[in-house]
């Protein structure tokens, strides 16, 4: 079983996201530890990109804060090494394909494995284009987390059939950012995915309230929160850890509890 599959074992997972090096390296370490202490089952670390086409303004601004302090992939690997001294919380990266391509697929995945980064989420890599990266990621036991959107339609089978780790279910079309209402029939979308795979599903994009966690947690195996957490980082600067821990506790508490089998 992959590291990530364990995240969803016998529980509904709360997944938090922060942009690495926002607002600086030390704060990122503290923020990840705080999320983990608050109950996050998995943390996504965003690697900033110059053109984050899947991200809304909140995450774009966080990327800019990270660029201001000179973020690079190597610096982020150092941040991960520092995180690993504090917590064993599972980690995945969220970034754009050119960053990984430029670093070198082999070198990047090898470092992920060494530092315990279990997966990659690459929103600008369509399933059809993943041919070069997939075998290398597999060699280093790094899961490539596929994204399923409400318009994936007939491609869903292909996208999820051989998916490992988990499946990132995009709640509604558009970019990341908090939404008050999610109109997609997620229940049906998840049912469709489950026809083809037992790999766990987690819903993201627009999720921010405990009510949503409770509602979406009943449908999927986990919920992902990005922009709402990044907003807390923006508001609290280098002292965001207490707020993040409290937020993670609230979200985790709102998730449905699975009865022991």
């Amino acid at each position: 079983m992959s590291e990530l599959a364990k995240v969803f074992q016998n529980k509904k997972a709360f997944i938090g996201f922060v942009v690495a090096d926002d607002p600086d390296a030390d704060s990122t370490v503290k923020n990840v530890v705080a999320l983990a202490e608050g109950g996050a089952d998995l943390v996504e670390l965003g690697i900033p990109f110059s053109d984050p086409v899947a991200d809304g303004p909140v995450i774009q601004e966080a990327d800019l804060r990270a660029f201001k302090v000179g973020v690079t992939p190597d610096k982020i690997f150092e941040i991960v090494a520092a995180i690993r001294k504090e917590t064993t919380v599972p980690l995945v990266f969220l970034t754009y394909l050119n960053i990984v391509f430029k670093y070198g697929y082999d070198k990047f995945c090898a470092r992920c494995q060494k530092l315990g980064v279990s997966g990659l989420i690459i929103p600008d890599m369509p399933y059809e284009e993943k041919g070069d990266l997939a075998p290398i990621a597999a060699k280093y036991a790094v899961d490539l987390i596929p994204l399923v959107t409400p318009t994936s339609g007939h491609r869903i089978e292909k996208i999820v059939k051989h998916a490992t780790g988990f499946i990132y279910v995009v709640s509604s079309m558009g970019v990341t950012g908090t939404r008050n209402t999610i109109k997609t029939d997620l229940h049906q979308l998840i049912q469709q995915i489950r026809q083809y795979t037992d790999t766990p599903t987690a819903i993201g994009f627009g999720v921010h309230t405990p009510e949503q966690a409770s509602e979406l947690g009943a449908i999927a195996d986990g919920v992902i929160v990005g922009s709402a957490i990044v907003k807390l980082v923006a508001q609290n600067g280098t002292n965001a850890a207490p707020a993040l821990k409290k937020y993670a506790q609230e979200m985790k508490a709102a998730l449905p509890v699975l009865s022991a089998e």
Binding site: S50, T72, N98, T149, G174
Partner: protein, 370 residues
Amino acid sequence: MRQPINEAKNDPKFQKELTDLLNNYANRPSLLYHAKRMSDDLGGAQIYFKREDLNHTGAHKINNVIGQALLAKRLGKTRLIAETGAGQHGVATATIAALFGMSCEIYMGKMDTDRQKLNVYRMELLGAKVHSVTSGSMVLKDAINAAMQEWASRVDDTFYVIGSAVGPHPFPEMVRDFQSVISREARAQILKETGKLPDAIVACVGGGSNAIGSFAEFINDPSVQLIGCEAAGRGVDTDQTAATLERGSTGIFHGMKSVFLQDKFGQIDKVYSISAGLDYPGVGPEHAALNASGRAQYVGITDDEAVDAFEYIAKTEGIIAAIESSHAVAYVEKMAPKMRKDQVIICTLSGRGDKDVASIAKYRGVDINE
């Protein structure tokens, strides 16, 4: 996308509709004009201009927009969105949306809405809504990002009319096919006029749609030299440039593996050119391949050279060409004198330059506001 494109390509009804609109609405075939004064003045090769500037809406962009809008209609879409740099593609899209009775929204970087105000108003006159994009460096690539984001959020009724030969497969190929009408006509026209193939084809390259359309039908004629002119801005060796193939490296962005201006970490560079239509940090994948194989050569033309050429072709031929196209004219000025008088260059004038008059005046320090 692939399937409907292929079906349309092989559907005689679609092709008939396309040809009909190109000929009876967009004013095709465009002229292949023998620029005798300029040829004499430069004293070398005979220069022919493929006059895409005479198309309806004033640029080659309409060729591709008509094709894509027909596809959109075929797919039952009712709303067209597009990115635009100089505004020519936006104007073409707004025009065809008006003609087809579709709604239309155009994404344009704020830098470009500022320097191409006339085109912004033109699009609004045509009934389009223009979004001034303030993210990133506020130019063409950011407009593409914004249009892609919009498309991702509203794919049900919307068709993204991409303006250049860029983006994920099969977009670059589709744009090339729609723009190939340029070289299909030019090849027949020059054979009729001179009885032989030309020696060189010269076209400007941003993303590369007019260039790939100008090259396409000559790629298998090895005697025809293919030359793409990129915007070198303040110089290929400065950081204020858009000369992708001279300075860039391989990357994956906007859904394509191609050559991009980027730093060593893969962050896409900010680019600069006086021309809003050429300041794109990448180039269509087919140009990257033609460059790598050596089949086509790519050269950088600076702002200064392009502005000089803008003025030169106006004074010698009475043609106000787009600043984008003036990059190609600048290279023709360099190469023609070194060639024999019986040799032939075809240079594509991708667009007309009315939209650039104000910024050229500004560049020359002339105040044209009353």
